[in-house]
Amino acid sequence: MTQSSAKDAELPLQHFESVVIRFAGDSGDGMQITGNQFTHTSAVIGNDLATFPDYPAEIRAPAGTRPGVSGFQVRFSSSDIHTPGDQPDVLVAMNPAALVVNIKDLKPGGIVVVNTGQFSDSDLKKAALTKNPLTDGSLSGYRVIEIDINKRVTEALKGTALSSKEVQRCKNFYTLGLMYWLYHRPLETTMKWLEEKFAKRPELAEANKLAMQAGYNAGDIHELFQGRYEVLPCTSMTPGTYRNIMGNDATAMGLVAGAQLAGLRLFLGSYPITPASGILEALASYKHFGVITFQAEDEIAAICSALGSAYAGCLGLTTTSGPGIALKTEAMGLAVSVELPLVIVNVQRGGPSTGLPTKTEQADLFQAIFGRNGEAPIPVIAASTPADAFETAIEACRIAVQYMTPVILLTDGYIANGAEPWKLPKVEDLTPFPATQLKAVPEGGFLPYARDAHLARPWAVPGTPGLEHRVGGLEKAHLTGNISYDPDNHEFMVRMRHNKVMGIRDSIPTPNVFGDSTGDVLVLGWGSTRGAITSAIEELRKKGRKVSSLHLRHVWPLPKDLDKIMACFRSVLVPEMNMGQMARILRSEYPQQNIISYPKIQGQPFRTTELVKKIETLLEK
C-alpha cells in the first residue's frame, strides 16, 4: 500500500493493488444491481475484476430476515486476478440481517458500512438478534462506518414527486454513490445506464441519479472516512479491447457465434429455470440474428423441440439446470440414436432434486457422461470462467455439427452469474466449421446411416427431394437406418456410436500445463475451479513450491496424453465441487496414477486459501 495526496481532494488517497467489496442487503434492496454497476464502472476504468453474486432462491423472502439476504462480491484489481477474493475488505450492510450473515467473512480490520436507518428494534427482531451488534462490541475488530441511508436518501430526494416507498428504493444508488466516492470512481457509466434503464420513467432515472450523487457528495461532506482509496487500472492485461461479461451472456453469444460458424440457424427450446434462464433471455433478444427461441411447456418439450428442429436442419439447442437435466435424459438418448447436432447446456447448481437453486456445484458430471439408459455416449465439455464460456460454447457447436451428435456443455452457477473482463475476439479470427447437409441423392444412393471420416452420418433435411427417410429411437440397421433387432447389428451400432464419440479425441488439443511440466503436485481441475486453482498455484510457485496445474475443457472424451503428463508428478490433486466425480473417472481411466480427490460440497466455490492449504499438506507428506 502506498499513500499519496490526491491533487483534487483534501483527503489522502491510498493506493491498493486489489480490493474486495461485498454489497449485502435484503433481496429487495437491489444489491445485485448495485454490485453489477460497481463492476461495470470498474471494468470501464480498466481494472481486472471478478464477481460472485450470492443470492437466495426466494425472490423476496420475508423482508429483513437472514434467509432474505442477497449479496454481491466484487474484486477489482490493478494486477491479474482469477477469483472474486476469499474475504471482503469492505462489507456494505443495508440491514442487521445482512450484517450478521456476512460479518464473519470480513477481513480482520476491514471496513463495514452500516445503514443505521434500518436498525430499529423491529429490524433487529426480524434478523433474530437480541442485542444490537452496533452497540454490543461485537464489531470492535472492524472499522465501522455508520450512516443513516434511509434518512439521507429521503433528504436527497425531498421535492421529487416520488412516493416515500419509491424514494426508499433509491437507497442502493445512494450506497453505490458513496462507494464510488470512496474508491475514486466516475459516476458516468451508471448515469448512462440509469437513463437507458428508465427511459420510459425519466423521473426514476433522475431520482436514482440524485441519490447516487448525494451518496458521492456525502463522502466529502460528512467526514465519514479518513481517506479515499484508489485501485489503478490493470496494466498487465494482454493488449486488446475488453468488456465485462457474465457467464450466461458469454454462453449465449458463443452459441450465436457457433451457429454462424456452422452456417446454421440456431433453435433454442428451453424452459425457465435458475440459473440457466439468463441464456434463454439473452437469446430471445437475438431474433435479428435469425435465432428461434421457443419457451416450451416443460423441460422435456424444450429438448424435444430442439431435437425436432435439428432434424429439420437447425442447430438444436436446449439450456437447463439442476432437475431440468434429469427431465431431458430420455431425449438425450434419442439424440444419440438419431445422431443429430444438438447442444445441451447444463448450468449446474446444487443438488440433488431442487437442492440449492442459486448456489453452484459440479455434481452433474457423472450424469452428463453416463446418465442415460442404454449405452448412450455423449461428449461433454466444460467452461472454466465467464469469458471462457464463449469459446466453449463455440466448441460445443463444432463437435455437434462435425460429429452429428448431442454435446453437453457444462457451466455452473458461479460461471453463469459471475463476471470478468473478456478480451474480445475478432470475428474473422474464429474458425468456421460449415455444416454439410445433403442437397440431393448422393452417387450410389442415399443411406441415412452411412459414415464419413468422423463416423458421422449424413444430414438429410426434410424439404430435400429424394432423401425422404425415417428416424427414431428403435435400433437401426447399419447404413440403411431401417429398424433392426439383429443381435450382431446392435453390438455393431453400439460400438459405432461409442467409437464416433471417442474419436472426438483426435480433434481436441491436449491442454497445456500451467507451471513446470514436472514437479511434486499437479492440480487437475475442470470447470469453474480454474480461477481458484490458478491463484493457488501462482501463490505457491512464488514460494518456490514445485506445483503445476492442468485444466480440462474436454471432460469426455478426455484429451490424449493425460497419463504422460500426470506421470511427471508425484501426485495429482483433483479439487471439485462434488464428492470426487472427476477423480473417480481419472482413476478408472488411469489406474496407475496417484489421484487424490479434494471435494467441496457447500454450494460455494473454492477459496484460494483452502487450496493453498490443501496443496501444502500434500507437499509435506
Partner: protein
Amino acid sequence: MAEAQALTKKDFKSDQEVRWCPGCGDYAILNCVQGIMAALGVPKHQICFVSGIGCSSRFPYYMNTYGFHSIHGRAPAFATGIKTANPELSVWLVTGDGDGLSIGGNHMAHILRRNVDVKILLFNNEIYGLTKGQYSPTSPQGLKTKTSPMGSVDRPMDPVSFALGCGATFVARTIDTHLKHMEQVLLAAAHHKGAAFVEIYQNCVIFNDGAFDAFADKTVRDDKTIDLRPGQPMVFGKNLDKGIKIDGWEPRIVPAAEADVWRSDTHSPGPAFVMSQMDSDPAMPRPIGVFRDVPGPIFDRSVHEQIQRAQSTKGVGSLQKLIYSGETWTVT
C-alpha cells in the same frame, strides 16, 4: 422428377413391411392417409410425419415421406420444433389415446393452444395395445383389463372436449371403418390453417375388439351417429328423419325439419363442447364430423414474422457488433 407428375397413393407407401396385427383399424387409416396425401398434391419431400410411441406411432415408417418416430408422448414437441424450424413443411402428427392424452397430455394441450400448423391424428382405441392390453385414459369406467381385473375405476376423458378446452382451432372426429367420412374429415383438417386435431375411433382387434360397435358398426351407424357438417342441418338416421336441436343448454332429438343448422365457427366453443358431451346420455347419437373450425394466429408463422420484424428494424445481426456491444475499453 416424380414430384412434377401427379402423385398417387402408391408413391406414399414406403418400402417397409407394415407390422400391425391383421385386422387392425390402423391399416384403414394408413390407406386413407396415403390417398389424402396424393390428393393434396404436396410433394412428398415437403411432408414430415411425426409420432410418439405406441401402435399408432409406427405410422411414419410406412409413409414414404420424411418421418420421426420420437418419444412416448412427446411428438407434439418434436412437431413444434420441426414446423417452427421450417414452416414450409407439411407436418402430420400421429398419436394414440395413451401417447397423446396420458403421458403426452401436457404437450398435446400446448401444441393446440399455441396453434402450431400441424395436423394431429389421434387414434383412439381406448386401450394400451403395444404394452398388451392395459386400460387407457379413454377406457370406459368398469373396463376389465390386465391392470383393472375388477374394472377400471378411472373416469375417462373425451379427446374432443379436451382439444376444445385447449383452444384448438380445428377439432373433428371420425371412425376407422367409415372411409368416406374419414377422407372428408382429413381433407378438411389438411386445409385448415393452424393446428388441426382429429380423433379417429380405431378398433384394436386384439385387446379391445368391438369397443365402438355400439355406434360404429355399419348396421347401426346411421342411427347411432350424427355427422356434424358445418352449415348443414344436424340430421341423422337411416332415413335422415331425426335431428338435433340445442334446446337451452341441452341437445335433444327432434324431427329432422326442426334440427338446428350446425356451426363450427361460433365465437364461443360452447356449442361444440355441448355436442362433444352429448353422448354421455346413451340415448343420444355419437357426434362425428367437424366440431370446430375457426381461424387463429399461427404459432410458427408468428415466430418467423417476429424474426423478420427484428431484422428489418435492427438490421440483420452482426456478430462483431454483438461481441463489441456494451461498454468496452482498450488496453494498449
